[in-house]
Symmetry: C2
Subunit: 351 residues, 2 copies
């Protein structure tokens, strides 16, 4: 039979309320009693039963993370930050992976109703006004990471500035025929990155060439469209299109995610072209993969974003935060590796 609070109370010769107060570190317990009860707890190896605590407190000490799992590594690093922050606060993490669109709403519905969790972390996904309202009305704390909704807390990255800096860097490297491989323009990051890209061109008096701008929206292959086009295949396909232009192809390409860049690099290699000599690349995200590939990329501080999201969410859960909508914007940082050509240029200068 399980050891309950009653067993502890009886053995310690106190009431169950007292035991409960000891467990919950209530200040209004005499040191003597506390010590006695703590002794018995250890002796019986008692541990409170979370389900019962949850029922009584109406609190689960658990947070849901909804992650578009299939996409890969980006979330892994975020998750790491999240996990560490949560365990510091003694919260558990329930992981929901979403692949299909309707599954997302399913999970929203469940988290709102079942009350299995005290709060929700939503990664890289959109949320309809409808559900946003539901979360607000039901007072279920939610934070979007790498996603945006006007009435919800969100932690995002300066996408526009990132794209701007990436393009600017390529321009500084001497490229004037600039390409862009983007995700689905239906997604906000894709739209904003396009804007940043265009701004950089404009600021440098470069007229964008429509041919050099690829976005996944024109395609209807579901594999290419998955995850809003932020996938390997889309990168492969996009780069093929650019290379098909022959001499007209761009010489420097900004690719809106590392994962797309991985695919893009593959085609470039397959066609016998050299990176960065023939085509220079700067991408976006800064996942670990970029390091292995030698990708020059705009790095997002993912670990920090995950950790901050947790800190903030817990504040809301524990009502230690005002009720305003919290928005935090992180800045991406240009990490120069091999694909942008900066190192190569530097070597030449030094020679």
């Amino acid at each position: 039979m399980r050891v309950t609070i009653y067993d502890v109370a009886k053995k310690a010769g106190v009431g169950i309320g007292t035991v409960s107060r000891v467990i919950n570190k209530s200040p209004q317990i005499s040191p003597k009693t506390r010590k006695k009860v703590l002794g018995i707890i250890k002796e019986l190896n008692y541990q409170p039963y979370v389900m019962a605590q949850g029922l009584a407190r109406k609190k689960t000490n658990t947070v849901a993370c909804i992650v578009p799992f299939f996409t890969g590594y980006f979330y892994f690093e975020l998750l790491n930050g999240v996990q560490q922050a949560l365990s510091k606060h003694n919260y558990d993490l329930i992981l929901y992976s979403v692949d299909l669109f309707d599954k997302k709403e399913d999970i929203f519905e469940r988290t709102l109703q079942e009350r299995r969790v005290d709060g929700v972390l939503l990664f890289s996904m959109t949320i309809s006004d409808d559900y946003a309202d539901k979360f607000v009305n039901k007072k279920m704390p939610i934070a979007l990471v790498d996603g945006y909704h006007k009435s919800l807390d969100s932690i995002t990255i300066e996408n526009k500035k990132g794209a701007y800096l990436a393009a600017e860097h390529l321009i500084k490297m001497g490229h004037s025929k600039l390409g862009l491989i983007n995700g689905n323009l239906g997604s906000i990051p894709a739209r904003i990155r396009l804007k940043g890209f265009n701004d950089a061109l404009a600021a440098n008096d470069i007229t964008p060439d429509e041919q050099h701008i690829f976005n996944v929206s024109s395609i209807d292959d579901p594999q290419i469209l998955s995850n809003d086009g932020f996938n390997k295949l889309a990168g492969y396909y996009g780069m093929s299109k650019l290379l098909d232009l022959g001499e007209n192809r761009p010489t420097g390409v900004f690719i809106s995610s590392d994962i797309q860049a991985a695919g893009a690099m593959k085609v470039v290699n397959e066609r016998g072209l050299k990176i960065p000599e023939d085509i220079a690349i700067v991408s976006f995200d800064g996942i670990e993969l970029s390091e292995y590939l030698g990708l020059s990329t705009m790095k997002q501080p993912m670990f920090e974003m995950g950790a901050l999201a947790v800190e903030h969410l817990i504040k809301k859960i524990e009502k230690r935060s005002n009720n305003g909508v919290f928005k935090k914007l992180f800045h991406p940082e240009l990490v120069i590796r091999d694909t942008c050509g900066a190192k190569l240029q530097m070597e030449k200068i030094l020679d």
Copy 2:
């Protein structure tokens, strides 16, 4: 106020027991009543409250996954299989990441006592006899994935055979100076892979050269030692040592994990050597990264391993399984990409 089973019962004009039975798909409910109650449930948008269910049923419908998180991608793919299998059975996944050793035992203790979960999946970790007994005694189902304990269910990979095949492949490619970069020999996979490697050499009348065998155990840099040496840095360091041998270096190297291979490839490139021309590599694991790097590797069917682990665990949880200890051995499969030199050789032949 929350919608409870009482609200539904009242509105439907039935008793709470009836509502409960409808929810739990009890057969002994007349179709008429079922329909009526189901209607009200939808109308009130009622959903049972998991904490209360958990308390009453003494069941949580949740499984804990204990993962050595920091290491990386290997677990990501396993997790994917796990997650999908779990959600099919309507179980939730609580993720515990372990970095420090004592944290592991902490989590064991908690899962055993708090009863927050119905079962545990332990990835790539050892478990002491002591804790193994505790799990058995407390009847808490647990399955080890990529780990072994005699009295617990486990799902593992044929490490010896995998290493054997990898080495054999290199030998077939014409290499006779074979190197090995291994993890910490304190870990079982590292020991077994060493054995497989040696067996392959013996079977082909090659005397192993001590100099060509690197294992992390001789080092005391904590970074290199982390995760039993299955990390990038260890690979980098190990390969440096082999390359330091100059003309004496091995021409073909079996590296016991993809992640180490990534580090190893980096040094090889830095030193201006070519893969596979100067050094051929076959590694182990088959994580997604290996694809990007063009690594020839022994692929573990990770998704399947994760999924099977779940299926099995749930059977145990739901008592649908006999009580024997379940052991399943998966077979790794050689995936030929660029680093082993097989493709290159093939091209030469075709020319």
